[in-house]
C-alpha cells in the first residue's frame, strides 16, 4: 500500500472517529441537558424533542462539512420549504434520515424497530413520535394514537418523511415499495413530496465503517415531484399511488 493511501486511510479513520464521537457525546449531552428537561417542563414534548434532534443533527452535519470539506451539500430550496407533507425518499445510507432531521425542525419519521428496544434511545424515539418500521412492534391501539399524532404533527406544519423501500439500496436501484407509509399519508390526507437523495452512500457506504473523506462528493436533495391524491375518490387506489411514486423515482434515476 502506498504511503499516500496509508495516510488517507489513517486520516479517514481519525475523521470518522471524531464524527462518531461527536454523535455519541453530542447525543448524550442533548439527552441530559435537552431531552430530560424538555420531558419535565415542555408543554409539547414531542415537538421539543424533534427540535432538539434537529439541532443535534444540524451540529453533526456542520461538523461533517467542516471535517470533510470535499463533500458538498446541494439542497434545493424547494426541499427546505416543504411543510405539512409526507416526504417520500429513496434510501441509500444511514445518513439519509439524520440528514432530513437536520433540515426540518418539526420532523417525524419511521425508524428501524430494533432501535426502539435500545435503552434511552428507544424512549427518545417514542417521545419524538417516531414510529417503528415493523407494524408488529405497535399494538393496534397504539397504532391509532401514533397515526393520530402524525396527523396533528402534519396539521401543525411538520413533515413526516419515509423511505418506502425500507432498506438501503446497495446498487442504486429501487427496492420494492412498502405501502404502509402511503396508507398513513391517506389517513392524514397529506400531500406527497418526492425527494430524491443522491450520493449519501458515497460519503458513507453501507457495510463500511469509514467516511469517504478524500473523494469529491456532491450530496443532493432534489424535489422531483408532488402528488396530491384524491384520497376520498371512489376510484382511489393505494397501489396506483405507489406505482406513480415509483415511476417518478425510476425516471429520475434513469437520467
Amino acid at each position: 500500500m502506498s504511503p499516500i493511501k496509508i495516510f488517507q486511510n489513517a486520516s479517514a479513520l481519525f475523521i470518522t472517529l471524531l464524527i462518531w464521537v461527536y454523535f455519541l457525546i453530542g447525543s448524550t449531552v442533548f439527552f441530559l441537558f435537552g431531552h430530560i428537561p424538555a420531558c419535565l417542563f415542555s408543554k409539547n414534548r414531542a415537538s421539543a424533542f424533534q427540535n432538539l434532534n434537529h439541532i443535534n443533527m444540524g451540529i453533526f452535519f456542520a461538523l461533517t462539512r467542516f471535517l470533510i470539506p470535499r463533500t458538498k451539500f446541494i439542497i434545493q430550496k424547494e426541499v427546505l420549504q416543504i411543510h405539512s407533507s409526507v416526504i417520500v425518499c429513496n434510501h441509500l445510507s444511514y445518513l439519509d434520515p439524520i440528514l432530513l432531521i437536520s433540515f426540518f425542525k418539526q420532523n417525524c419519521t419511521i425508524v428501524k424497530s430494533t432501535f426502539f428496544r435500545v435503552p434511552f434511545f428507544g424512549w427518545l424515539l417514542r417521545n419524538s413520535f417516531y414510529m417503528p418500521s415493523s407494524v408488529g412492534e405497535v399494538q393496534g391501539q397504539s397504532m391509532v394514537e401514533n397515526i393520530e399524532n402524525i396527523k396533528k404533527h402534519l396539521a401543525a406544519g411538520g413533515n413526516f418523511f419515509v423511505f418506502p423501500e425500507g432498506t438501503r439500496s446497495r446498487d442504486g436501484r429501487l427496492a420494492p415499495f412498502n405501502k404502509g407509509a402511503f396508507s398513513i399519508a391517506r389517513y392524514c390526507n397529506a400531500p406527497l413530496k418526492l425527494v430524491y437523495i443522491k450520493n449519501t452512500n458515497k460519503l458513507f457506504q453501507p457495510g463500511t465503517f469509514l467516511f469517504k473523506t478524500h473523494d469529491n462528493i456532491e450530496i443532493e436533495l432534489e424535489l422531483i415531484g408532488t402528488l396530491t391524491p384524491d384520497y376520498v375518490s371512489d376510484n382511489f387506489s393505494i397501489s396506483a399511488v405507489v406505482d406513480d411514486v415509483r415511476n417518478v423515482f425510476e425516471q429520475r434515476i434513469k437520467r
Binding site: 407494524v135 408488529g136 405497535v138 399494538q139 393496534g140 391501539q141 397504532m143 391509532v144 394514537e145 397515526i147 393520530e148 405501502k179 404502509g180 396508507s183 398513513i184 391517506r186 389517513y187 384520497y231 376520498v232 387506489s237 393505494i238
Partner: protein, 90 residues
C-alpha cells in the same frame, strides 16, 4: 342497514383495498392474509367512507383487536346502531 348489506360492504372493501375476494367469515385475518395494524387503518378508512361519517379515536381503537370478518361486521353493526341512536340522526 341490514347485516347482509354490512357484510357485502365489508367484502367490497376487502376486494378494493386488499385484493381479497370473498374472504371466509371466521378466518383469522392476521394468519390468513397477514393482515396488520396498517391494514386495519385502511379498513377503518373504508368503513368511514361507507358510513359517511368519521369514527372517533375510541371507536378506531376498538377496531384494532378485531380478527375476523364476522367481528368486523359486528363492529360496523354497533357503529350503525350508535349513529342511529344519536340525537338528530334519523
Amino acid at each position: 342497514m341490514t347485516r347482509q348489506e354490512i357484510e357485502s360492504e365489508v367484502k367490497k372493501i376487502f376486494l378494493r383495498e386488499f385484493e381479497v375476494e370473498n374472504p371466509e367469515m371466521d378466518l383469522d385475518l392476521r394468519e390468513a392474509y397477514a393482515f396488520d395494524s396498517i391494514d386495519a387503518i385502511e379498513l377503518l378508512l373504508g368503513i368511514e367512507k361507507f358510513l359517511g361519517s368519521e369514527l372517533t379515536q375510541e371507536e378506531k381503537k376498538q377496531a384494532m383487536d378485531i380478527r375476523t370478518i364476522n367481528q368486523i361486521c359486528d363492529y360496523v353493526e354497533k357503529l350503525v346502531a350508535t349513529r342511529k341512536d344519536a340525537p338528530g340522526v334519523n
